[in-house]
């Protein structure tokens, strides 16, 4: 299973800024290994972020998103101690869900 995400959610002013790092190879399917063999595509396709069960961001990604993806966005309405949950699903159907507590 993939390593946990690193999620930080912090209130700044009246917004909550969310920063996420995901451990993923994001293989394009166009790279060759040392032996000259094509490395099969393997990349995160869908990302969902929720706060109190409500979706605050959803995304579809292609293989052009960089390895070990970084994502930053911001939303309104959260308070310190709330949970932000991030999930991803990749092109092989592997999944990962992690959460972070909103910090003041």
């Amino acid at each position: 299973m993939a390593d946990p995400m690193r999620i930080r959610a912090k209130i700044e002013g009246d917004k909550t800024i969310v920063r996420v790092l995901m451990a993923h190879e994001m293989e394009t399917g166009q790279r060759r290994d040392a032996a000259g063999k094509v490395v099969p595509a393997h990349f995160i396709q869908e990302v969902t972020a929720t706060h109190n069960g409500k979706t605050v961001l959803s995304a579809q990604w292609g293989p052009a998103v960089s390895k070990n993806p970084y994502l930053q966005f911001q939303f309104s309405g959260a308070k310190a101690g709330d949970k932000v949950v991030i999930s991803w699903v990749d092109s092989k159907g592997d999944k990962r869900t992690d959460e972070a507590t909103v910090a003041a």
């Binding site: 946990p4 959803s58 998103v65 994502l71 930053q72």
Partner: protein, 159 residues
């Protein structure tokens, strides 16, 4: 230092807690957020802005200046990681997509922005070479596009 470490440890603990949550998800007991829209294979397979818009269900785009590129650099020291930051100032922005002309497939990523979330995302894309990069905004059902060139340079010892 303390703060960083605390948050890392928290993340680790939360990591194991959410592994359990992940099992529930796999078992179909809970759904993470609202249902995932199926991945739009067509949109990620075509070349050119117009074709991407078409496969997203739109008809044509209008150029706009109401998009700011934030910290997006004009030159990338390495094409493997090109930071892109896009903020839409167009009212009723529903989605933001990042497109790279000279990549094998034009569409890199697309974000759906629900009400309550700022029309502002930062992420990082791969670029094979210097290219036009587009921010494609859907607002109130219409598509808008802003474009900037990002140069990709060869750094280091070149070996």
């Amino acid at each position: 230092m303390g703060e960083i470490n605390t948050s890392r440890r928290q993340a680790l603990k939360q990591g194991s807690a959410t592994a359990i949550l992940g099992m529930f998800v796999a078992a179909g007991l809970v759904r993470p957020g609202t249902a995932h829209a199926a991945w739009n294979q067509a949109a990620f397979s075509v070349k050119g802005v117009d074709n991407v818009v078409k496969s997203l269900g739109g008809a044509g785009t209008a150029a706009t200046k109401d998009i700011s590129w934030g910290s997006t650099p004009e030159i990338a020291e390495n094409g493997a990681v090109v930071p892109i930051s896009v903020t839409s100032n167009i009212p009723k922005t529903e989605s933001i997509a990042i497109l790279v002309d000279k990549n094998p497939n034009t569409l890199a990523a697309s974000f759906t922005i629900p009400p309550g979330t700022d029309p502002n995302v930062s992420m990082r894309v791969k670029m094979g070479e210097t290219s036009q990069v587009h921010a494609l905004i859907k607002a109130d059902g219409k598509y808008f596009v802003a474009t900037r060139e990002i140069k990709v340079t060869l750094g280091g010892c070149g070996g």
